[in-house]
């Protein structure tokens, strides 16, 4: 195939302990480490391997988000992507809107394969890839843990609740990644320098046809209810007594 499109979201790094804002309007992002959504890093790694294997010519990455998302796109370019596109938009965006905006990029770029994460670890929606697949009227293979490309089709192993499922899909298609698909490469310093010279196009969200309004209103964001603090026991004997007291063992 000619081209693989990889969709990348800028999210709070998965190691950061989330804090909810006192006014309950969202979570604290100021001064917090931001990264590429871990699943998207895996998606990019897979795309790069497909290219390195000679099954694709170009890997293009795209992100929708604030101007700072350029940092994550630069990291993606340093990993080995050839070119990047940022659709600049501030504020929360629903997956349906993201997918519509991405479908405009798909129309322009006409990729043979689209790689995305199975979920963004901030909103945990797990929707965008599937919506985009339907909008483009192409097949999807979500939660992929193994991908092999054969000319006009792909064979994908999916991690589902019942075990491992294998699907065969015609290309172009959308594949969303699970964690065990691969381990993303580390970025080396010379690659970061090289990435600075690669093309990163910035488009304002207003330039697209997609309407960025939403029918979902966020009323508030609160911390989860705390669990009551627990007790420590010294041995199995004490544990069994404690469980019997709670009526959990007979």
């Amino acid at each position: 195939m000619e081209k693989i499109l990889v969709c990348i979201k800028r999210v709070i790094d998965y190691n950061v302990k989330i804090r909810v804002k006192p006014d309950e309007s969202g979570v604290v992002t100021e001064g917090v480490k931001m990264s590429i959504n871990p699943f998207d890093e895996i998606a990019l790694e897979e795309a790069l391997r497909i290219k390195e294997n000679g099954d694709a010519v170009e890997v293009v990455i795209v992100s929708i988000g604030p101007d700072d998302s350029q940092q994550q796109l630069r990291t993606g370019l340093a990993m080995g992507a050839d070119r990047a596109i940022l659709i600049k938009h501030d504020g929360e965006i629903e997956p349906l809107t993201v997918a519509k905006a991405l479908s405009e990029i798909v129309e322009d770029e006409n990729p043979g394969l689209i790689m995305m994460g199975k979920q963004a670890i901030d909103d945990d929606s797990s929707q965008t890839g599937q919506i985009l697949a339907q909008l483009c009227d192409i097949p999807q293979a979500t939660f992929a843990s193994k991908v092999s490309i054969q000319e006009e089709k792909a064979t994908v192993v999916r991690e589902i609740d019942q075990g491992l499922e294998t699907l065969e899909i015609d290309l172009p298609a959308i594949i969303t990644t699970d964690l065990r698909l691969n381990e993303p490469r580390y970025v080396k310093l010379p690659d970061i320098m090289k990435a600075k010279k690669k093309v990163l196009d910035v488009i304002e969200s207003g330039e697209l046809k997609t309407d960025f309004s939403s029918s979902i209103e966020v009323i508030n964001v609160t911390p989860p209810p705390p669990r009551e603090s627990g007790v420590m026991v010294n041995d199995v004997e004490e544990l069994v007594v404690a469980l019997k007291e709670k009526g959990l063992l007979s």
Partner: protein
């Protein structure tokens, strides 16, 4: 009256408990609940008629549904749903794969992982692996499409006899671009992770697939199911469908054992609704102890045999 359509999840000829839990969520919104069963034999649909609170079970029996493929099911669901105000699916890999395609066809926003119904159009859902809870409102006049976080809802009773309505396959385009090849699913006699009242999970600390035998033996004594951390799955100790956590299964047993698991937030995300969490770890500083109800600092290789023999 507000009409709700629940999309049934079934596997290997059995309606899964996730369907009943989704109906439970629906019952907190309206009394008019129908289930849609897409399958290739109507026996599954008759199981669905026993679920309490259900009015009608619509059954479309067609060989296209011999194995669930979202791109085939989505246009059918979208067509049937024109009569309904709400469409709900379980938030399993089945529901997560299918619901967004319906969202695209109907052009309605989807709510993932409904954990509570505050008002008919106001829901709570977890974000950031459950480290924050969002309360959201769907605009009036819009169809509501959502997936239900099954760990937040109990299974309903099975004393109903809802109407079984054999429904015609709507005339929609069935794509041929997606072909099911196979499924590898390990059969076990132990209860399902999502249904078991006791779950025993092992982590990297268990050390090998062979050592997991210790957990299986304990589980069999307790009638428990066995789960695992991502590290244990990655290391190949156990298959992927045993993973508990943000990206694995979200479960709500009465009793959960975390054995040789450090307690990463992504793992905790899967057990927030467990009744009692027991943590067994040889490191007294392991973060799992911060959320455990009962903690014990011990070497699992001594702890498990001791507990197992205590249960004789």
């Amino acid at each position: 009256m507000t009409k709700i359509l629940v999309i049934a999840e079934h596997f290997d000829g059995e309606i899964l408990s996730a369907t009943s839990k989704t109906v439970n969520c629906a019952s907190q919104i309206s009394e008019s609940i129908d289930i849609l069963v897409l399958g290739d034999d109507s026996a599954v649909a008759s199981q669905a008629t026993t679920i309490d609170a259900v009015s009608n079970v619509l059954s479309i029996s067609n060989e296209a549904f011999g194995y669930p493929v979202s791109s085939i099911m989505a246009p059918v669901v979208a067509e049937i749903s024109s009569e309904y105000d709400y469409i709900l699916l379980p938030s399993s890999t089945f529901g997560k794969d299918l619901a967004p395609r319906i969202s695209a066809i109907l052009d309605v926003n989807q709510v993932t992982d409904i954990m509570s119904v505050e008002e008919p159009r106001i829901f709570k859902r977890p974000i950031y692996a459950g480290n924050a809870i969002q309360t959201i409102k769907i605009a009036e006049g819009k169809k509501v499409l959502g997936t239900v976080r099954t760990a937040s809802f109990k299974e309903l009773g099975n004393s109903n006899s809802a109407n079984l309505i054999e429904t015609e396959m709507p005339s929609v385009n069935i794509p041929s671009h997606t072909r099911f090849i196979k499924i590898e699913s390990e059969k076990t006699e132990r209860p399902d992770l999502q249904v078991a009242s006791i779950v025993i999970s092992g982590g990297r600390g268990v050390g090998s697939a062979e050592n997991f035998e210790l957990l299986y033996q304990l589980a069999d004594k307790l009638g428990a199911s066995v789960g695992a951390s991502r590290a244990a799955v990655d290391a190949g100790f156990v298959p992927n469908d045993m993973q508990v956590g943000q990206t694995g299964k979200i479960i709500a047993p009465d009793l959960y054992f975390a054995i040789g698991i450090s307690g990463a937030i992504q793992h905790i995300a899967g057990i927030k609704d467990a009744g009692t969490i027991v943590a067994v770890n040889k490191d007294a500083d392991a973060p799992i102890f911060e959320i455990a109800d009962i903690g014990i600092v011990a070497d699992l290789f001594e702890f498990i045999p001791q507990l197992t023999s205590k249960l004789d």
